[in-house]
Symmetry: C2
């Protein structure tokens, strides 16, 4: 198959395995650091070492991208950053709405790191009338009742669930109903979405529990 067509395929029918996709942000962060240090080339071995992977994994992962390394030098950091940004959508702005204006929701709405990375908060919603109109970052808290209308007027890419776990499924249903096809769930709750809607769990409490397991403090001593 001609190389040109191969690259076309990679762009139009990308079937990058999930474990690889989950590592791509790591590569992006690292390569951006390298570029800040004016490093022009990075070998799979060097990248692997910095990220706690094997060089084999790095080469396999990067082979899914529209990019070529060069023998004896490795990968050009500028090109690598470019391609990673492209794949991860880091070079366009994604519009994010947050439902839940409690501590967590508000702090995420104000969190500069999102905007810096191209995730623009375009709406913050809650149920609680006393919060309506309160300025948080660049947006004001709006009533959840206006959620669908706002989604209709704005082109929303990603919905963020920051409500208590008991309300999480309902919010997800609402988001799906309003046409949102990508959801990040911060609640401690398994959520069901229809086929075609992408759901990722933030797993903060789950992560703490995983750490608690690894500490094994309440294991019966032998």
């Amino acid at each position: 198959m001609p190389k040109k067509f191969m690259s076309f395929l990679k762009e139009s029918a990308p079937k990058i395995p999930q474990p690889v996709i989950r590592r791509l942000p790591k590569y992006l962060v690292h390569v951006q650091e390298l570029r800040e240090e004016d490093v022009v080339w990075a070998s799979s071995q060097q990248i692997a070492e910095a990220l706690g992977l094997t060089s084999s994994t790095v080469r396999q992962d990067l082979s899914h991208l529209d990019l070529s390394g060069i023998s004896k030098r490795g990968y050009e950091t500028e090109q690598l950053e470019l391609v990673l940004r492209q794949v991860l959508g880091a070079d366009i702005v994604h519009r994010v709405v947050i439902v839940g204006a409690g501590n967590l929701g508000r702090s995420l709405a104000e969190h500069g790191a999102f905007t810096q990375r191209g995730f623009e908060i375009c709406g913050l919603f809650d149920q609680e009338p006393s919060l309506f109109g309160r300025q948080v970052g660049d947006v004001k808290v709006m009533s959840i009742d206006s959620f669908c209308d706002v989604c209709r007027d704005t082109d929303v890419d990603i919905g963020l669930i920051a409500v208590p776990s008991s309300a999480a499924q309902g919010v997800a249903d609402l988001m799906v109903q309003c046409g949102i096809r990508a959801i990040l769930n911060l609640a401690y709750k398994h959520i069901q979405v229809p086929q075609g809607v992408h759901l990722v769990d933030a797993r903060i409490i789950e992560s703490l529990q995983e750490l608690a397991y690894s500490l094994g403090k309440n294991r019966i001593p032998s």
Copy 2:
């Protein structure tokens, strides 16, 4: 091998595979819901359906726990919750310190869901003098300079990194130096820790990028 000794083994030398551990919190949340609805028995099939798994996976997963199901009925929800809580350390209190008292760090310190789940915030630290003494949830912001002293006085289980990515590695080093052996990293940065220290990444921005990838908005159209 006698059954009694098997169960002893499971408790003293638990080698539950990581993918299983990551699913255990899901089971716990679900079984707690079932118990609120006074459901006494749950079959692997029912659990699988609720959590988007196969019944085979559920049975395999639960076989790592010190628990037996009963043919024709399934698993007793009370016993299942008990065992899951035990394994995930949800029945004892873990002490958590947060470094970084910005929006995110403060909101986590105030986040009721942590305390509810047995993670007690016992310290919140920052570099910025203007924040010192500020009351956030149950704690006051302290100087990062006092971090090691506080860790020495308190029995800290888990350290939470909520600083900008450029400072994250330094904070991790400090935590390790002060004897913390379990770290949850909320920064968008790969962090290196010595062997024996447990690190979990919260991956919030990474999750947004994963969703951005799945939306594929900036893919070259065919």
